[in-house]
């Protein structure tokens, strides 16, 4: 193992989330939700919240570290960090930034957090109400291409064309999330099982996405405490060690007006290569995977680009059976994820990856050693994370 890596030097020592709500249903402010999640994550770790000295978030989270540190009376603020760009693509990247700061010695206990109350602050899934637009949006919005679903459907369509893939893999990914949510009392879609017929009969949002191919929009907050492996061993929980945390974007992926040279992609090709090299493992070593579902088509491409199957094998490999905890070759989104647990902007995928290693998931995989998270397909940048028991 190279000295120049965060591998095995850092661990996730605490996790928590607030109750998860339907969009607009939270009865308290986004800032309070964020504080509640951070307090609970510190409590889970067995850490005095005032000892948290580093803060990392992503997607322009509105709850800034100086305000949080002041509100909580943290003794010291040594890191105030935002992952730039990429929306939910920053989830694992925020953990990566925390790892870097810990290994560099900038901070002792870093919280990675995300607070989101779309009821208070407006929705992601609606088009701009602006009278005029300029720059990149001027080349798309006047044609009614305005929402994330519409932005990403175009890429997924091209990938499905290139490899002659039908809609069955998308259905399997959707149904896996809903299946796992049925055993998860935290899940917004707990008690709302999705049958094959429900999926098939659901309305189109934008082809090739039906309603159940699209994530929810929710209110809530989640937080994880990241610290050095040494400090983590002195805390309450069994540490989830970080084997690798990788972030980035492939060549010119953010070229405007859909001009990324490699177009039918989740944008994980270089990130995944760096991730596995850092971890010193291969895709076959991964026991359980949480892969960010903004839209099912993005998960399909993420799994391919993380090496779980070739594009030509998608239809054969991506079945509901293969994705189920207990029977599947690659248990996927075992909390219900963005589709059916909560759209906590993918931070709920990281708490679930930790739960799998602790053995406390509500869809527990038998004794997993390696737990992976892929954050935010098709955006720029994206990020991934590999956690391990050892």
């Amino acid at each position: 193992m190279s000295e120049n890596t965060i591998s095995h030097k850092v661990a996730i020592a605490g996790i928590a989330e607030t109750a998860y709500y339907k969009r607009g249903a939270a009865d308290r402010s986004e800032f309070q939700l964020t504080l509640e999640a951070i307090l609970a994550a510190a409590e889970d770790a067995g850490l005095d919240v005032r000892d948290i000295d580093g803060f990392c978030s992503y997607s322009n989270d509105r709850n800034d570290p100086p305000r949080i540190a002041s509100a909580l009376g943290c003794k010291d603020l040594s890191l105030s960090n935002m992952f730039w760009g990429g929306g939910g693509g920053g989830g694992s990247g925020a953990v990566a930034n925390a790892c870097a700061a810990l290994v560099a010695g900038y901070s002792k206990y870093v919280v990675v957090y995300r607070g989101l109350a779309q009821g208070q602050f407006g929705r992601f899934g609606q088009g701009s109400q602006a009278r005029t637009v300029s720059g990149g949006p001027a080349y798309t919005q006047p044609y009614g291409l305005m929402s994330p679903a519409q932005t990403f459907a175009m890429r997924v369509r091209r990938f499905m064309h290139d490899y002659t893939i039908g809609h069955e893999p998308l259905k399997a990914i959707s149904m896996a999330s809903y299946h796992h949510a049925q055993s998860n009392p935290r899940a917004v879609m707990h008690g709302r099982p999705l049958s094959e017929e429900d999926y098939e009969n659901s309305r189109w949002i934008v082809e090739p996405f039906r309603l159940f191919d699209c994530c929810m929009e929710n209110d809530g907050a989640a937080a994880v405490i990241v610290t050095t492996a040494e400090r983590a061993r002195d805390l309450r929980q069994k540490p989830a060690y970080v084997l690798a945390a990788s972030q980035g974007s492939d060549y010119r992926q953010a070229a405007t007006a859909h001009n990324a040279p490699d177009y039918g992609t989740s944008n994980f090709k270089t990130v995944a290569a760096r991730l596995y090299a850092q971890a010193g493992i291969e895709p076959k070593d991964v026991d359980v995977c949480q892969s960010y579902e903004n839209f099912t088509g993005g998960v399909m491409m993420s799994l391919v680009e993380h090496g779980f199957c070739a594009p030509e094998e998608v239809e054969e490999f991506m079945t509901l059976e293969n994705f189920k905890a207990g029977t599947g070759k690659l248990p996927l989104n075992t909390s219900g994820g963005n589709l059916a647990e909560c759209y906590m902007h993918g931070l709920e995928l990281i708490t679930e990856a930790v739960r799998q290693l602790r053995g406390t998931s509500t869809a527990q995989v038998q004794d997993p050693r390696i737990s992976m998270v892929c954050s935010g397909p098709m955006v720029q940048p994206v990020s991934s994370l590999i956690l391990s028991k050892e």
Binding site: R131, S134, A138, Y139, Y143, M146, S147, M154, V206
Partner: protein
Amino acid sequence: MSAAPYLPAGLPAPAAANDGLDTEYWEAARRHELVVQRCNACQGFQWGPEWICHQCHSFDLGWQKVSGRGTIYSWERIWHPVHPALREACPYMVVLVELPDAGNVRMVGNLLGDPMEEVVIGSAVEAVFEDHPDDGVTLVQWRRV
């Protein structure tokens, strides 16, 4: 001759960027010409426009009038309106068009005609110009050839 508007009025109208980066594109569209940014140093095409050529890093960029003939690179049929102006307009068709005589840059537009007609990736289209006199702008749209 201008094409009839494909989508209802009320969507955000395009405005040239206030730094002047794409003024020529929007002015050319009003003249019913399709232009693409082209590097005067290496002759490479670039879209969307930028202040620097991503291939040779020259800041000396110009505009090239192109034929407006392209092929469909990807497409989507949109059923769920995300803007009040689109409530009665669904489904509608958005295509991504590749321009072989402009270095295979791609442009987004609507595919004119019946939105339920099958779309074949790789099939030929050509640019048509859709004037919006109230906004003083012209959109570049695409029709099958």
